[in-house]
């Protein structure tokens, strides 16, 4: 400890000199920039948000620890990447974005506490965050009470539309209906076995799926089963599925359970060349953990796959890998999280203000042609117009994109 502090004093003088000289240059530069680009703070911020002449502060609220960390870290990385890129291109309204990172710790009440802290203490202009529906439900009253703005990246069950939230992932009907149509048409599927983790998103999604299968496709649901989050033993379920012999296994298994689910399927000889399995919950992130062998030739219905071929996506994947390592993978939610800061930037610039009410009013109709998934547009109901794609899993954990459908954003609020 004492050697360290000696060390520190020795360095102090040099660092003070360096910092001072940087400050001189920096202040000259920023002064010039403000003169050139940014409108005065009083004009762009009338509600006391954390906006100065040179900076604007936003919050990033995900689980960096706990069971959800494995899924949420990709979202944090994507959001920080987008913010870096925006800053490198001159920021928003002449202001650099500064980020306050808070850890939700996979604990929903903790999300609510941190959301309140970001809005009440830090006065952030926007928050990018939340992953599970439970965490979103926990922070929702806080955002509505304190009039904050949340960009929420995950595909979720729908049935919600808040003034204070922009949903950059797909809601259930966007993801489910087109996927079921596709599997019925191309595979001639008539019977379905529905499987999910036991919480609101899989349950609601399967309810929508069942309705569509029975009423529109005139197919039959031959089984519907739920297992608690974190379950690792699916053997009895697999036996039931084998007995029921469905044309399609429809899977909404979430998080770490995916690994045992797919490995046990393979062990039970349920493989992609003999069975059709369609999932709306397994992305590149999970497959990295499962291993390509076990998901080979199964199908995922998502709006984004890392292997998407378009210039936007190639640029995004290259930038992501440059920042976070060549073996990092990008799943559907990671891409949706990346859209958040960009959509916010577009809305703020259209509104000419950071005020939440003005940004919200400016949001519907915002278009983004630079999105890695392709063109997206914010609907009046705060969800995105986006395409659904069906991907078939290959051995090297990348998806071959099969077919896509355009669907507008639907929400029964």
């Amino acid at each position: 400890m004492s050697t360290e502090s000696q060390h520190r004093t020795r360095h102090t003088r040099i660092s003070i000199f360096i910092i001072a000289s940087f400050l001189c240059i920096g202040s000259l530069l920023t002064f010039a920039r403000v003169e050139a680009a940014g409108p005065p703070t009083a004009q762009v911020n009338t509600t006391g948000l954390a906006v100065t002449d040179t900076t604007v502060t936003v919050g990033d609220l995900h689980s960096a620890t706990g069971t959800m960390a494995i899924s949420e870290i990709g979202s944090i990385q994507a959001e920080l990447l987008a913010i870096d890129q925006i800053n490198a291109a001159g920021g928003i309204l002449g202001r650099k974005i500064e980020v306050i990172k808070e850890d939700g710790a996979s604990d929903w009440p903790n999300f609510a506490e941190k959301a309140r802290k970001l809005l009440v203490k830090d006065k952030v202009a926007a928050v990018f965050g939340c992953w599970t529906s439970a965490s979103r439900k926990a922070v929702l009253p806080v955002f509505e009470k304190e009039n904050g703005l949340l960009y929420y990246p995950t595909f979720y069950e729908g049935l919600e539309q808040s003034k204070n939230v922009i949903y950059t992932g797909q809601e259930a009907t966007q993801q489910i209906i087109a996927g079921l149509d596709w599997v019925t048409k191309t595979k001639g599927a008539k019977t379905f076995f529905l499987i999910g983790s036991d919480y609101i998103w899989p349950r609601t999604s399967n309810k929508i799926a069942r309705k569509h299968i029975e009423n529109v496709l005139h197919g039959k649901v031959v089984g519907e089963e739920y297992y608690p989050l974190g379950t690792t033993n699916f053997r009895s379920l697999i036996n039931k599925a084998k007995l029921a012999k469905p044309d399609v296994i429809y899977s909404i298994v979430v998080g770490g359970s995916n690994v045992s689910w797919f490995k046990q399927l393979k062990a039970a000889d349920i493989t992609g060349d003999k069975w059709t399995l369609l999932t709306i919950s397994t992305t590149e992130d999970e497959v990295k953990g499962i291993g390509g062998e076990s998901v080979l030739n199964f199908y995922s219905a998502m709006k984004y796959f890392q292997t998407l071929k378009n210039p936007n996506n190639e640029k995004f994947v290259a930038a992501f890998k440059a920042k976070y390592g060549a073996d990092s993978v990008i799943g559907d939610v990671t891409q949706a999280a990346y859209l958040g800061p960009w959509l916010w930037k577009a809305a703020v610039e259209k509104a000419g203000s950071f005020d939440v009410d003005k940004v919200v009013a400016a949001s519907p109709g915002i278009e983004l042609s630079s999105a890695p998934e392709g063109y997206v547009k914010v609907h009046a109901n705060h969800h995105l117009w986006s395409k659904l794609r069906i991907g078939r899993w290959r051995r090297r954990c990348c998806c071959e994109i099969y077919r896509y459908h355009r669907r507008r954003s639907v929400n029964h609020g």
Partner: protein
């Protein structure tokens, strides 16, 4: 009774207790409200709801020797009773008009439930809710107590069973999401009898009610411990057979203490719901229950007042570390617990009661660590 209570306090032995209690009251009622803004004070209020559980644990674990790893059950039951009342109030037909069945809580509507389940009906009444907060968890504790203690189940077995019950209750709540809100919990609570609990003034009032109830709970527990029952409890913890052979019904004593601890937890849970604005199964399960035991251990399991400081310190540490060092806060919390176990076997309270012993212990442990870490060839020869 008040006079008797007073005479108990005034004895020389208890004078320091009285001073400590006065200091705690000063801190909670004057210093913190003046020093903190309402956001932080609301957080302190939340921590204090855990202090209820910790005080209960001092009674049943510290003095009675009954280690319960399932206090989350009672905290959760109390909290859920209050949450059900508030949720029904928030789900009036007007504000839920967009639902397919207006007038029922939103999560029921998402789960295609068409009518309010029967066990929700009584929670329309506030007086029923208050009674339920107090009675339901206590009754449940009584049933567990009768089932266990009458059969002379105790010690580790009892701890494991309480843990199992906490787990079962969580699975039940998560699994029946149409009836309980599932893993999301019961969220978006707004008013109590028309009074908006999300305003700053309401937060102040709720904080004071909470602090006053907690101080009252401590005084009650102190009185309980200084009565004959307190002596019996300590005797029971140290030599259970002897108390039994002296003709006391050991089981009843244990059941009573366990019920009191459960009651405290339930009040904490209800106050939690009121101050935080929601309740979720993440306060019922094994992890939160163990955390509550940690608060008690940090504060000192033989000190009612220490338990409050323990709950405050651990939760403050959690909030502070996670805000300031978002990346390594879990390690800092871990270091805090290891530090307490290594150096303060009697918790923070031990630091004040026996500063000399504590200092010796720290010195001794530090010397031992240094000796262990020193390379072998530098160690003195011999054994």
């Amino acid at each position: 009774m008040p006079k008797k209570l007073l005479s108990h306090w005034i004895t020389a032995k208890n004078r320091s207790d009285l001073i400590n209690l006065a200091l705690l009251a000063l801190l909670l009622l004057v210093v913190l409200p003046l020093a903190l803004d309402i956001f932080r004070l609301n957080l302190v209020g939340k921590y204090l709801t855990f202090a209820f559980v910790a005080v209960g644990l001092v009674l049943c674990w510290g003095y009675g020797g009954i280690l319960s790893l399932g206090q989350g059950i009672f905290f959760g039951l109390g909290g859920y009773c209050m949450a059900m009342f508030l949720k029904l109030e928030a789900s009036d037909p007007v504000s839920t008009a967009i639902q397919s069945t207006p007038g029922i809580p939103d999560f029921m509507d998402w789960n295609q439930i068409k009518a309010l389940p029967w066990f929700w009906e009584p929670f329309h009444s506030f007086s029923f809710t208050l009674i339920a907060v107090l009675i339901l968890p206590t009754l449940f504790a009584y049933l567990i107590g009768v089932a266990m203690f009458k059969r002379r189940v105790g010690g580790v077995y009892f701890a494991i069973i309480t843990q199992a019950i906490a787990l079962i209750l969580t699975v039940l709540i998560v699994g029946q999401q149409g009836l309980t809100g599932g893993i999301n919990g019961i969220t978006d609570l707004k008013t109590l009898l028309g009074w908006d609990i999300r305003t700053n003034s309401a937060r102040y009032i709720l904080y004071y009610i909470n602090a006053a109830l907690l101080l009252g709970g401590i005084v009650f527990s102190r009185w309980l411990l200084s009565s004959k029952l307190g002596l019996l409890l300590v005797a029971l913890r140290d030599k259970e057979e002897r108390v039994r052979f002296s003709g006391y019904d050991v089981a009843n004593l244990k059941i009573f203490t366990f019920c009191v601890a459960a009651l405290f937890s339930a009040v904490g849970g209800a106050m939690f719901t009121l101050q935080v604005g929601f309740m979720s199964p993440s306060f019922v399960g094994i992890v939160p229950s163990i955390e509550m035991v940690i608060f008690t251990a940090v504060g000192g399991r033989l000190s009612l007042i220490g338990a409050v400081y323990g709950a405050l310190l651990v939760n403050f540490g959690k909030s502070y570390f996670s805000e300031t060092f978002a990346d390594l806060w879990l390690y800092l919390m871990g270091a805090l617990f290891i530090g307490v176990v290594l150096f303060l076997p009697n918790g923070l309270a031990g630091l004040f009661r026996e500063p000399r012993q504590t200092w010796l212990l720290i010195k001794h442990t530090a010397l031992m660590l240094v000796a262990k870490l020193r390379p072998a060839r530098l160690r003195p020869e011999g054994k």
